[in-house]
């Protein structure tokens, strides 16, 4: 995997009450597009092991389209940016991950509403909404070896950090770590949802590609914060 960052918002590392604006969310999406492209083959290889070898191509196509959509008609609020991201993913990705990630971003967008600035608490609530949306649509619980296994712990980590008054940077780092740990923890699991479930016990021993891409997306969130 390849890490790194594109745009920094060093002021976000300042304190618990720092606000995240449209520029920040744009930077997040751009960073996702970058890491997805950098990890395209890695994600496809993970999907080859227990799926159908398209997850990298799917997300690459999706976030490439999202970048185009955002530059075609710049959305001006965090909520609008995330909603447009989600809508574009639904319109361009297909597969299981298209509707699921699309719903995740659309849920975040709608939870954030039209406001110009987002608090850490609001962000945590938005990610919780993403988890709920993905679970409602896909029916997966934690432990089923899906993206939920990375997304749900990340949402919890954010919520806890926000409730504990953590600084934004710390909170995003905690979310990233929780997602990465959640993704790693899918390795010993037997899949019960998605394509990998067809493999039965043979799905054990492989990281879930969707959980891995979720960890990248949460890593991009932290990177966007600088």
């Amino acid at each position: 995997m390849t890490g790194g960052r594109t745009e920094n918002h060093p002021h976000l590392l300042g304190g618990a009450a720092t606000l995240m604006d449209a520029q920040f969310f744009t930077a997040w999406i751009e960073e996702i597009a970058r890491v997805v492209t950098a990890n395209r083959d890695h994600l496809t290889r993970l999907d080859a092991a227990i799926g159908d070898a398209d997850h990298g191509a799917n997300l690459h196509r999706g976030f490439t389209a999202v970048l185009e959509a955002l530059s075609a008609k710049p959305a001006d609020s965090p909520g609008a940016i995330l909603t447009l991201t989600g809508t574009t993913l639904i319109r361009k990705v297909g597969g299981a991950s298209g509707p699921l990630y699309g719903t995740a971003f659309r849920q975040m967008g709608s939870r954030l509403g039209p406001g110009a600035d987002v608090t850490l608490t609001e962000l945590a609530s938005a990610v919780e909404a993403a988890v709920a949306g993905v679970q409602k649509l896909g029916g997966a619980s934690e432990g089923d070896k899906t993206m939920v296994d990375a997304l749900a712990p990340a949402a919890r980590a954010l919520t806890e950090a926000a409730q504990g008054g953590a600084k934004t940077g710390e909170a995003l780092d905690a979310a990233r770590l929780a997602a990465e740990e959640g993704a790693r923890a899918t390795i010993p699991l037997q899949a019960r949802k998605g394509r990998a479930s067809y493999l039965g016990e043979r799905s054990i021993g492989h990281e879930d590609p969707g959980a891995a891409s979720t960890a990248l997306i949460l890593g991009a969130l932290h990177a966007a914060a600088g």
Binding site: T44, R45, A48, A49, I50, G51, D52, A53, D54, G56, A57, N58, R61, I90, R91, K92, V93, G94, G95, A96, S97, G98, P99, L100, L137, G138, Q190, R192, K193, G194, R195, S197, Y198, L199, G200, R202
Partner: protein, 330 residues
């Protein structure tokens, strides 16, 4: 990887351009990736839409035409189509009698078709759907995404298509689709993996003396790997799996389907064994298909699908059909 393509990115669009050039009876929209009957919509007839990832040709686009589908939506290779495609296809085939979605049971297909169906319903189009889940290699339980839809899709598309041509109602067309699915079972075997163009290498590796049992149609590895064996034994393993799940008896429709890289001569060898197995169990293969119908790119291997017929199903199977992939009676 060597393939007859221009690029991994353009393969689906390029193939659709080829279909458009080859089949004047179709109206192909390579941009939005939809294949319509040229004459769509047919007023007063239930419209039939199917779709799914590309790489399974002739499924689904090759089954668009009189007596079968009204439109098909191919996604990227092995990736379900997006809701926009399904919505446009649904609108384009709506002749006022409602539209049936024929969906193979994969998370991605189900989610994308559901999203499209909801939006179409909001716009006042009556939509019903049939979910195809015939693959006995997958344990259908709370612990899986449920059985995959594979070979029975061809049977469902043919038979619902035939009934729709008679002017039957959406509810009746959906009902017979469910009946076909309920009476059908499949099992697949791979001798080699496929290579997804965008991935550039085989999805899995098999030794020269190994075969993979219970594979799906997307290069997903199967449930077990065993030593290569004569066709007779391999066919028996597949048929045992089908028979264990749905005891075989009576008149059946049977398809021995190539996965894309297996030549017809081998499929006929397998068919001989399958027919012998069926007779041994007291079932009679009164209708059959042998060839490439639901492929998995260049995978070598086969799947077998059996449908226990009723007189009505046989009659609808025999009804005229005129598509690039299946044609008789006109």
């Amino acid at each position: 990887m060597k393939k007859l393509i221009n690029s991994a990115e353009s393969v689906v669009t390029d193939a659709l351009t080829g279909m458009a050039a080859a089949h004047p009876s179709l109206r192909v929209d390579p941009e939005n990736k939809i294949i319509f009957r040229r004459s769509a919509p047919t007023q007063g007839k239930v419209g039939l839409v199917s779709g799914g990832g590309s790489g399974h040709e002739p499924l689904h686009g090759g089954f668009v035409g009189y007596g079968m589908l009204d439109a098909a939506c191919p996604g990227e290779v092995f990736t379900s189509p997006v809701p926009d495609q399904v919505i446009e296809a649904t609108k384009g085939v709506d002749g006022g009698a409602g539209v049936l979605h024929i969906v193979k049971n994969y998370t991605g297909d189900v989610l994308n078709f559901e999203m499209a169906a909801e939006l179409c319903a909001e716009e006042g189009i009556e939509v019903a759907s049939v979910l195809v889940n015939d693959d006995v290699a997958v344990k259908d339980s709370l612990y899986t995404a449920g059985r995959r839809g594979t070979g029975a899709t061809v049977f469902v598309e043919k038979i619902t298509g035939a009934l729709a041509e008679t002017g039957a109602s959406l509810a009746d067309v959906a009902k017979i689709g469910e009946e076909v699915n309920a009476r059908s079972r499949s099992f697949g075997v791979a001798l080699s993996s496929c290579t997804v163009p965008a991935a550039g290498k085989p999805t899995f590796d098999l030794d020269d003396n190994e075969i993979e049992l219970g594979i799906g149609i997307h290069g997903e590895p199967g449930r077990t790997r065993v030593s290569a064996a004569p066709a007779r034994e391999v066919a028996r393993i597949a048929m045992d799996a089908v028979h264990a799940d749905m005891p075989l008896s009576g008149e059946v429709l049977v398809m021995v389907n190539g996965m894309g890289g297996t030549p017809l001569i081998e499929l006929y060898v397998v068919f001989a064994e399958v027919a012998a197995y069926l007779r041994e169990k007291g079932a009679e293969p009164v209708r059959s298909l042998v060839g490439n119908y639901v492929t998995s790119l260049d995978m070598e291997g086969f799947s077998v699908t059996v449908c226990r017929l009723t007189d009505e199903l046989t009659r609808l199977w025999d009804a005229p059909v005129e598509t690039p992939g299946l044609r008789w009676g006109r």
